[in-house]
Symmetry: C2
Subunit: 136 residues, 2 copies
């Protein structure tokens, strides 16, 4: 399915997805055309899901990064799920998990005040346990 050249391509694209096909080809000892064809295959197969950027959230003003364990009060999760859909920019990921809690909610906030206000709203739907990310 994937040969070492494909792995190498994925690795290089992870490091810099805006690299030219010509340059990427030089790294894997192929022409730009052959490299481009391999990348197209990786896209078609769904292994490459998309191309994106890493954004420095702190420089954008999001200085608080939190992981919130969610404990739903009832068996109806819909109110919670539709609530967090309305909470974009703050919500990064909502993982459904097996273990202690029901969900693990990854969020970012510009300040503790905004986090506090978010938690007040959140608490109408679920109970939670807050963890603040100090570093990565």
């Amino acid at each position: 399915m994937l040969d070492p050249t494909d792995i190498r391509i994925l690795d290089e694209l992870s490091k810099n997805s805006r690299i030219t096909m010509k340059e990427l080809g030089e790294k894997v000892h192929l022409t730009g055309q052959a490299t481009s064809a391999r990348v197209a295959k990786l896209e078609d197969s769904g292994i490459i899901e998309g191309y994106t950027i890493k954004i420095n959230q702190i420089k954008l003003g999001y200085v608080v990064h939190a992981m919130i364990s969610i404990f739903t009060k009832s068996t109806h999760h819909e109110p919670y799920l539709s609530f967090i859909k309305t909470q974009e920019p703050y919500v990064i990921n909502n993982y459904k998990i097996g273990g202690d809690s029901c969900y693990l909610l990854e969020c970012k906030f510009p300040s503790n005040e905004v986090l506090d206000a978010f938690l007040v709203r959140l608490n109408k739907y679920v109970n939670y346990k807050l963890s603040i990310i100090i570093s990565k």
Copy 2:
């Protein structure tokens, strides 16, 4: 610092970082050259940290996605930290957190057997609480 056009550029690049500057320029009503200059500024300021790809880990064989809360046994975290450095492909992120546990370790595994073996090794350094991610 950032005007609406910059926000739009970040948004479009998040969705597709391989878009051409010309095409991106059309979306924000600028020429390719002007767009390119803005993107270069966003890079220089550190707001854009890099260009990367989203990889489908399941198609790469990593079917188990786990969040592991880490409770260090002693105040010396170095043995744990150097251990996880040796555990690449499995470790995705290691967050230092404030809250109940010391770290939150995000990992991926090809099978429960590999996860199990990892936990046995991990337990030499720390105690843990395992959560399996069911969906996102």
